[in-house]
Symmetry: C2
């Protein structure tokens, strides 16, 4: 065989290996999903030329067992044996979890509505180019859709970039919106143990040109209201300012081009001791150790207006224009926080850095203080905030302009809640508490005491549904009273209505209050009223899930 | 060049063309996203061997401009110019649409809860193998995720298959659940004009071994309740039975292996005249015209119990065991519908066939009757039901068993609402109506009458938020009263609270009722109570969106 041919075939083999390692590309498959004739020809040619692998083995050979597994997965391999699982990093929500989730969302949405926010929704995927170039190193975590001959698409990575695209696309200059939806990140579990790949984000943002710090402070107010209403323990909202950080770095002698890398290092101070962060700055990022130590003088500081006033006396800092702009913003923010009555919940913290490049002004992060709330036994770390962190955000004035063809800017400020962590905490609370947790809101259970009464039971259910009473019945024609009562107790249904032949004839029903076991006769014409009275007085077993509503 | 080499290179060229037609597969790219060295070598070899295309052209050559566009899209092509659009077949939901959507969901969920259903959620994507082989010819419409080295995934195509996977995976034998979520189908717009590719489905299913027709009838009852509560005009629920259809076909002389194709043909009778359907049966599907005409005798029939009783006298039919089983089920169903008071809304319709293979018993479809409701000007056809159709479903006893490793069956029955169509109809209603449609629920707007009073305004907002009153204010420090009042009118805020220096000093506020323009002074200590009184009496401008709640 000539060198050229061998070389060519090695390349063919390479392509072949590629084809097999990751399944035959869709384009190679015929309409019925079988391997195309051309590819079969190649197999045959390789076989004729005596090139491994032989056709029969070739179908399953690969650099790993992946080809085999992928073939099985794509159903080409004969009778299917199903792997019953959700994809890595995702999970189902069972009814108990959904009830908890609903309770958390209701509280959060009530707060957003209390502040006059509207809501929007965007598609789960965007054009790939919309997301490209927005997430820096994290871009490799984006889920792409397969190229199936149409537009190239990717699953959304957050809700902020879709928001910016939405504003630019619909030419919106002013909006106060919340958006609660799932986002997708291909986190590597070896590196980030327990992270979800599909998880909820809960964003609140105010877009528009306004007077300084008014929208910025309302975001903090909203976070404080939400976290207080969820009753998850003590928390604090750390605030800082991108311009102040840049000013501090300049004042400490950090060269301009090292601002971002040094900022990333400072960002680790919530999890890593100064000694390690200093080492990273000096050894990995090439910072003058004198500068690093000067930075440390600043970033260990936190407080309130008294700290701010002190810094405003620091000539080293005030000689930096950006630092002054940042501090003036913070000063105003703290004043407004005082008017909002949230000063105790806010801490001006110079070590707060936040990872994302697109922040241009104030930045915040809400964290737990005191005891770490217990997480549910099934929980995993929320995907976008660090340990102890519950929410994060800030001002980002340049993002929408990146989307606008004329570069028109729409200033934005907002906050993103780490809702998976909140779910987890609420689940743990429910697990710990002794209270019965309901997954339905059923108020009445209808029981036929004798056989052959199913149609009377259906009619009674209809009467109750028409009166908007939440009612269930068995899907068996004939039932055992004890089993039915047990069902009521297990699911927390407070009232049972029992009918038998004699009750039908007498125009009455038996009303049983499950909590007291009390049974009494009620006339049909009084039934609805009696039921409503009992339900109103039933404190112990609510008609809603017993998550603090 | 030898024939072998030429042949090999032709194959290489084929693979090369494949590579370029649909962008270089991810596996061929190095970490930085550039074309790999090996592929460059192939380019070079082709060039040396004088095989088109030359390397510089090769990067953009392709069977279409797609490669070029894809490169641009993936950001490899220099400075990015953004295309501001959502992916084909998807759209954003603006605040007005979200408010309508919320109203529709609230009514639907209220009905599900009234019947004691729980809810679950599943991931947006499943393992590809989970979805494979479930959708027949429609499988080509499934969105795949790119192979990025992990599991092969696909976006869910409906909520029924994930439900079956959920039941099998968690070993659940009894559940009554609703699931409202988006599903994904790569519909070809040339074939199916105006179909969405991302759209909501709203499923209600009862899984478990029960007595016949009790859960089956409750599904119909629920659909009737929902459609009545949404007030969208006259509708009907057609019911039929897979076994009866099979029995009819057998009685008419259809060979067993033609049941499915003939069933598909019958399914078209709602949109296509009999003459065309008959032609398809006889000419395309090879059915004996005598059999076709016999089928027509049956499938034009519809009615209630009187039709059923007539059919039970038809010896041709009653000689078919399956037909008898089907008719007995329908008889029971109609009895139960009578008990539920929904007989007028149900029509036993022998032409109802339904596309999906997995139905094993009763099948239903809810359709508009009388005038087609107008669709919103921005609407598109809902993705899963035909023209005029609003909901569909039936019994499917074999699906969960396909997932269970031991083939354990869990009988299921359920219904899926065509919710996009319902949104569309509600949007049209809002467009036609003269009523103001609100996108926020704000109750009070706080205005500072003079400059320099921003902090007093913040404090007042805080007081109102603490009292759970939905309150907004401007994000300007100083405002023009007229502009503020205009904002209240546009957004439907019913009450304004105005403060000025003198009011602060006197311990009062001015309360303005926007609808009457009436302004009066109110003491601070009475403010909350006065506001609540006004809100309670404000009938014209509700604090909720004016979609009938």
């Amino acid at each position: 065989m000539s060198a050229a041919l061998a070389g060519t075939l090695r390349l063919c083999q390479y392509h072949w290996r590629l084809l097999h390692q990751h399944t035959v590309p869709t384009a190679c498959l015929s309409g019925s999903g079988q391997i195309s004739e051309e590819v079969k020809k190649l197999l045959s040619l390789k076989s004729q030329l005596g090139i491994e692998p032989k056709p029969s083995k070739a179908k399953v050979k690969g650099d790993s067992d992946k080809a085999k597994e992928n073939k099985k997965q794509s159903g080409e391999d004969g009778p299917k044996k199903f792997v019953l699982k959700t994809p890595k990093g995702t999970r189902d929500f069972a009814p108990e979890q959904m009830a908890i989730r609903e309770g958390v969302f209701n509280k959060i949405i009530a707060c957003f509505k209390r502040h006059g926010a509207v809501t929007i929704d965007t598609p789960v995927f965007e054009l790939k180019e919309t997301l490209t170039g927005k997430y820096g190193e994290d871009s490799k975590l984006i889920y792409d859709l397969a190229d199936q001959g149409g537009e190239l698409l990717s699953l959304r990575y957050d809700l902020t970039v879709p928001f910016a695209r939405y504003l630019a696309m619909h030419k919106i200059t002013n909006i106060k919106r919340y958006h609660i939806a799932k986002v997708y990140r291909r986190d590597n579990p070896a590196m980030n143990r327990g992270r979800f790949r599909e998880f909820y984000q809960c964003d609140f943002d105010i877009a528009g040109q306004y007077d300084p710090m008014l929208p910025d402070t309302e975001c903090i107010k909203i976070v404080v209201e939400i976290l207080s209403s969820l009753d998850i323990g003590d928390f604090l909202v750390k605030v800082n300012h991108r311009k102040l950080l840049d000013g501090v770095f300049a004042a400490c002698g950090v060269p301009d081009h090292k601002f971002r890398p040094i900022c990333s290092a400072v960002d680790k101070l919530d999890k890593t001791p100064w000694a390690e962060v200093r080492k990273e700055m000096v050894e990995e990022k090439g910072l003058d150790p004198v500068a690093a130590d000067k930075i440390w003088e600043y970033v260990q500081l936190s407080g309130g207006t008294e700290l701010l006033d002190k810094l405003l006396q620091d000539e080293n800092l005030t000689s930096q224009k950006k630092a002054v702009e940042g501090m003036e913003d913070i000063k105003l923010l703290l004043q407004y926080c005082e008017a909002y009555g949230i000063t105790d919940r806010v801490s001006f913290t110079l070590s707060l850095a936040r990872g994302l490049d697109y922040y241009t002004g104030v930045i915040y992060e809400a964290v737990f203080t005191g005891a770490q709330p217990a997480l549910a036994s099934s929980s995993e770390e929320e995907g976008s905030v660090g340990v102890g962190s519950i929410a994060g955000g800030g001002r980002y004035d340049g993002l929408v302009g990146m989307f606008d063809s004329k570069g028109r800017k729409v200033p934005c400020v907002g906050i993103s809640l780490g809702i998976e962590r909140l779910f987890s905490i609420m689940e743990a609370k429910v697990q710990e508490s002794e209270q019965k947790f309901r997954t339905t809101e059923t108020q009445v259970y209808v029981i036929a005491a004798q056989k052959g009464m199913v149609e009377e039971r259906l009619k009674l259910c209809r009467t109750l549904w028409d009166a908007d009473i939440k009612t269930e019945q068995s899907y068996k024609k004939n039932t055992k009273m004890l089993t039915e009562f047990q069902y009521c107790e297990q699911t927390g249904i407070p009232v049972a209505i029992i009918i038998g032949q004699s009750e039908i004839e007498a125009g009455i029903v038996k009303l049983k209050v499950m909590s007291s076991r009390e049974e009494r006769e009620v006339k049909r014409c009084d039934m609805l009223e009696e039921i409503r009275k009992v339900l109103a007085s039933e404190d112990n077993v609510k008609s809603k899930p017993s998550i603090s509503s």
